[in-house]
Symmetry: C2
Subunit: 164 residues, 2 copies
DNA sequence: GTATAAAAGGATCAAGATATCTAATTTGGG
DNA sequence: CCCAAATTAGATATCTTGATCCTTTTATAC
């Protein structure tokens, strides 16, 4: 950060990228649907409040990443590629914005071969712990968790447009 | 991330900003010095392998943040403002690139008042745990930790230029 | 006081991430 | 077959971060 002498006006997120946030919102929305129910890019954009054009890109990369499937044409849309209890937060992050582990000294210090100095060791530990935590949380957990706050988004009224 | 269709060529860091990395390197270098020894921006830039012009900015914001002190003129430079065992990684991050906690629903959902939905609750938990971890690690720990890798940087040969 | 060494500050530039828009392609329905 | 709905794609604009350069200010030494 530190946009020098900038005004720090309302930013919501900086530790996860905006793109990661968008992807997670969309995935949770999809996980909330019935098995056979697909959502269009438009519907998802409204529900998640993500710029429609941009969400298309994000969804596309999720398709390429194998987490969701797409169907073109009328009645098409996006749908989870696997059951919601087999997709973790980490799976999503790894596609749109993988956390870069620190595997070697960022300064090219020959003296420590592959070993990290204490600073980078600690930084990488933190990343590792976060990865570990996210690998334990499935979309199903997020959707089913008993909570006072309805999960993520008021969906666009699961309107009765069932598809065969 | 997801520079679309970009080539992913060697990026070292994305969960912490480049600026944060630079600031931490500099702080560790300063912590390695004897109490009364100050380092110039030049010396620090060499030791930490950070672009000199940019490091100046970073150092300046650390000064404004009260973590280091600066002296102008010949024989000047930068020095820690407090003992190294009272400055944590979190202190540094909070100045150059504070981790933005999620305190309210990023979608402006009126339904959950101040409560977070499961997704954002988990994300914020992760941030919180990382903050907690970093608040426990002081610069002194990083410098003194017995390790096989010398701490961070081969310093510019603590040359004998003692100042009164 | 003058010269010199250093930080502070400002303006500007480059790159990456984010966002938008428009065309192209696929798919299903009449 | 043709139309409409939807994804895919490519090109482009915008904003933030990272980086550079140059001038100004401050402090020390002579």
């Amino acid at each position: 950060m530190a946009p020098w002498d900038a005004d720090l006006t309302e930013r919501t997120i900086n530790v996860f990228s905006q793109t990661a946030e968008y992807a997670l919102r969309a995935m949770v929305c999809l996980a909330q649907q019935r098995e056979d129910r697909s959502l269009t890019s438009q519907e998802l954009a409204e529900a998640t409040q993500v710029p429609p054009g941009y969400l298309s890109k994000v969804l596309h990369s999720l398709v390429r990443g194998g987490l969701i499937r797409s169907r073109r044409g009328v009645g098409g849309g996006f749908i989870l590629a696997r059951p919601a209890d087999t997709i973790t937060i980490l799976d999503v992050l790894n596609i749109v914005d993988p956390m870069q582990r620190i595997t070697f000294c960022p300064l090219g210090l020959q003296s420590h071969g592959t070993r990290l100095c204490p600073l980078h060791r600690k930084l990488d530990d933190a990343i590792a712990r976060t990865e570990e935590a996210f690998s334990q949380i499935t979309l199903a957990m997020l959707v089913n968790e008993p909570t006072l706050s309805p999960s993520l988004c008021e969906l666009p009224a699961p309107n009765p447009k069932p598809r065969p």
